[in-house]
Subunit: 240 residues, 2 copies
Amino acid sequence: MSEESKVSGIDQAQYTANVNRRDFLRRAVIGGVVGAGLWSKLGAAEPGQHDKDINTRLFTFIGGQVGPWSIVTVKTITGEALPVAERLDVVNGPVSASPDGAKWILRGVTSNARYTTRQEKDQLTAIQPAVGRPTATCSALIPIRKNAQWWGLSQDQRREIFEERSHHIKTGLGYLPAVARRLHHCRDLGENEPFDFLTWFEYARADAVAFDELVARLRATEEWTYVDREIDMRLVRDGG
Amino acid sequence: MSEESKVSGIDQAQYTANVNRRDFLRRAVIGGVVGAGLWSKLGAAEPGQHDKDINTRLFTFIGGQVGPWSIVTVKTITGEALPVAERLDVVNGPVSASPDGAKWILRGVTSNARYTTRQEKDQLTAIQPAVGRPTATCSALIPIRKNAQWWGLSQDQRREIFEERSHHIKTGLGYLPAVARRLHHCRDLGENEPFDFLTWFEYARADAVAFDELVARLRATEEWTYVDREIDMRLVRDGG
């Protein structure tokens, strides 16, 4: 099936599904209470209705023609490329699927750390900076997917490769507080996602070479032999 | 804001958002390729269009008036109750939000195990049965949420409580292969979900007492002191 006919199919079904959904909502409210699971489902689909008071863990990365970040370089390290986009917008929460000129939309949620020990977590917390520093005018968006073999490993095997043999946390600690980092998980968003993680980094122009070194060191590890899709985007902020 | 006015708000926005989404899809295809992230987003919202060839990890539990499972008892163990429903339908994949008489919809994804060691995983794999056995005419749906303190712990602390101190895996192993189990994760679906996990169990009528014992033993553990919402539903299948 071509991309185009897929669109037509969804387009048509979209209309029908929405009519059904509206009817359902009316009925469900008459019947009693609509489960919160449904509310959140609608919230994900209808971003305009998202309650601004809720501090959502969901972030949406929109590659297109708008946004404060200018995409300077894009390297497809492993696997399929992404369409070319000029700018990046990062939105906290879901978005309506209508941004002008968007070429791709990637979503991920911040979550609990999966591998850090108490000691490592305390070390990280003590020195890692938050994203959004005015001096951090450079950024990197590196979406990553790991293969089925990785996900078939047990927790202790993954930890062993991740830290004891690849020193992921230890290596990263050496670049703090220069590099701010936010990890977004995609794998359990519910459907088959194009990536497992969206990794996001912010740093000052003077630290760009150090960041290159960090990425090169991680890519040379055993952990990275499980990566089957990776794209490395570098960006600069307006005024940066 | 009342539940009713929330519905009206979403209802109205729904229409607008869909018109925008259709326009966006047409433009994005003209421009090149729509990122898979968007496809999956639409997939989640438009279940009828879900590719049947893809073996989705998403499951939808619909409490209402239809489905093969009759809900026999519902106990709110901790936290807020769910609306009363008569029957349960379990769908592999997303659903259109239109099932007649639905009182609640809960979603979760199967995922990689977060705590099991290689040895434990091998033990489990060797003896755990799949769901769907004809003899397993009884089931339990137990949605669970853990509190912020739990999620703020590090991986090694959670593992320590989960297994070394609460013996979750070891206890569960003692009830295999009588009890089939499928764990669904909700916490990282993207929005604020009502539960972190949907736990689903299937067993023969003769094993119902043993299952009660298993649940009671787990509820008495240190791990369960972190549970801040839990509902225990017991069901029987038609003909069971």
